[in-house]
Subunit: 351 residues, 2 copies
């Protein structure tokens, strides 16, 4: 029985293409080691593409991407100083448009402090948790507006939209993961003492679904307190579930304490499989080091592992993760390596 996987690849801008090259290298290698047939279609999108063509994500391109089994995504975004590109345009019209159009309601972001990786924390302890970040609603819906712009009377609003449907499905997903984890612990994070309407929807939803998972210990933290525990006691976390914006903030902090965003992988999951899921490193396009082979491709490679896991290939995913972990463990004694050298080193460890 041979399996085939049809992937869309969106390298993007900055260091995106460099790290995606290594992730693809690894995917091809594991495929060739097994009876996995890998088909790759590259889509040129991002800030550079917009500058050339004025296109962010045309409907036909989105329709084409929709046909694939999954998406491997690099990074997008212009250099911060680049005034030719409206700030955030590419992020919203490409990255967030993909997440929203393809209904990526589970933004899965594991945090693991691998042996040999140094954390900015003096005594991190065991860092091994996963954040289930809601991906399709909250303050990310783009429901805002402004009046009297540019005057002293300007008023600007942002509306966070939260639905029972949206909160239930992501909370349920998080409980499922917590029930399958060893520690069986779920921490939900919000700010329900201030954001009462959305907060109480989250609270009631968690409490209702908790009744179906008596084996899962449930804990609540305000988002501000959660940042404290992430630096004072990250070992307390197993599965965290939270809204889109809080998840954005907490996962960058989580990446930082577990060795940096160069190692943080993520999956934007459509758990109903009505559209392809998308896998991307948490880091951005890092224009300052782009094209210099300075980027660490580990996050992109680990994202490819999440992709295989999601597509029903957990053994192949584990093989990649083990190789990356071994590479990381041996790093301290090595000097600076290029992006490709790290990819090759992981490749060599695939066995």
């Amino acid at each position: 029985m041979s399996t085939s996987i049809d992937l869309a690849v969106i390298p993007g801008d900055g260091i995106g293409p460099e790290v995606v090259t290594e992730a693809v290298k690894i995917l091809k290698a594991v495929a060739s080691q097994t009876d996995l047939e890998l088909k790759l279609t590259e889509y040129t999108l991002g800030a550079e593409h917009w500058l050339r063509t004025g296109e962010t994500l045309p409907e036909e391109t989105l329709a084409a991407i929709r046909q694939h089994d999954a998406i491997l995504f690099g990074a997008v975004g212009a250099a911060p100083g680049d005034t030719r590109i409206p700030s955030g345009l590419i992020e919203r019209e490409l990255l967030l448009k993909l997440r929203f159009s393809l209904d990526h309601y589970v933004n899965l972001r594991p945090s693991k402090l691998y042996p040999g990786v140094s954390s900015p924390l003096a005594a991190p302890g065991v860092v091994d948790f996963v954040v289930v970040r809601e991906g399709t609603e909250g303050p990310y819906v783009g429901n805002g507006g402004a009046l009297r712009v540019g005057t002293g009377e300007e008023i600007a609003t942002e509306v966070s939209v939260n639905t029972a449907f949206g909160v239930q499905r992501v909370v349920r997903d998080a409980f499922r993961r917590a029930a399958q984890s060893e520690r069986k612990k779920l921490t939900y994070v919000h700010k329900h003492n201030v954001l009462v309407y959305s907060g109480h929807l989250w609270k009631r939803t968690v409490e209702a679904i908790a009744a179906e998972y008596p084996e899962v210990a449930v804990d609540y933290l305000h988002v501000d307190a959660a940042t404290i525990f992430l630096v004072t006691d990250p070992a307390r976390f197993d599965v965290i579930v939270t809204d889109n914006l809080f998840g954005d903030i907490l996962t960058d902090l989580a990446a930082a304490i577990s060795g940096g965003i160069g190692l943080a992988a993520s999956g934007n999951l459509n758990m109903d499989r009505s559209a392809p899921s998308m896998f991307e490193p948490v880091h951005g396009s890092a224009p300052d080091i782009a094209g210099q082979q300075k980027a660490d491709p580990s996050a992109a490679i680990l994202s490819a592992a999440l992709l295989l896991d999601h597509l029903g290939q957990p053994e192949l995913a584990a093989r990649i993760e083990t190789a990356v972990e071994a590479d990381i463990a041996g790093r301290a004694s090595l000097g600076q390596r290029t992006t490709a050298q790290i990819g090759d080193a992981v490749l060599a460890r695939l066995g």
Copy 2:
């Protein structure tokens, strides 16, 4: 020339009364050392008070509090498990009501890693910055709603409201502080790639006011990236200005990296002096250790120092800060002390 200060004191719940007792002890001591006349009026408010009376903050009490020169606030909030009190009620109807009614638009939160204090960071470097958190708008305005509550069709919204008036005054305050600081650096934090309406209001406001302060170096960070730098390079920060919710999150993290919320002081400032400003430790009421003399009163004492500074007594403020700093520096060799013992030790160092 004798000066008199007429203070409202709101000890609140949990450890609030214990830490406020020490702060008052210190205020009385510095007053008696100088020609400062101190008048104190205590207001019994908080979760306990609500349980007894059903009152959060009656209009007459608010009117009375308004007459004082400043407010010293302990902490409020019920125990997390206490189901008799609707979650967040006291926080919103008392603490936030005070901040909003008294127009505390600058929520000033200094972060300083004092010598002798251990940080969870392995190599924190010099941590000495101040967060200017907007205090009267943003997602804290309570403008939300919910439809079809409790059904599968529930929808809950939260509206962040931001005005040119509100953003300008807090950004201007932050620039003023940055211009007076040694490093003259201002970092503004938002998420303007996603929250475009409020984000662009902040961006344009910062850019416009920056032109008036050519001596201040201005830097922008997305809130997620800001959390990374707070743990990897906190020394880069001098003055941070940000919105109400981002400020809430960042200041808890900032407190954590600089030795914990037991040391974090804050001022809720009405810089126009149209109403009294309020000074409070960043920590909460910590019901688990309440009444046990286990709380560290340093944050409350440092908040009293901010109060004196705000009321035009910078030398007295500095005297208190020096005493607290000396006490902290000598801590490592001491065992566990009670709340009162720490207060007495600071008192002894006032000279």
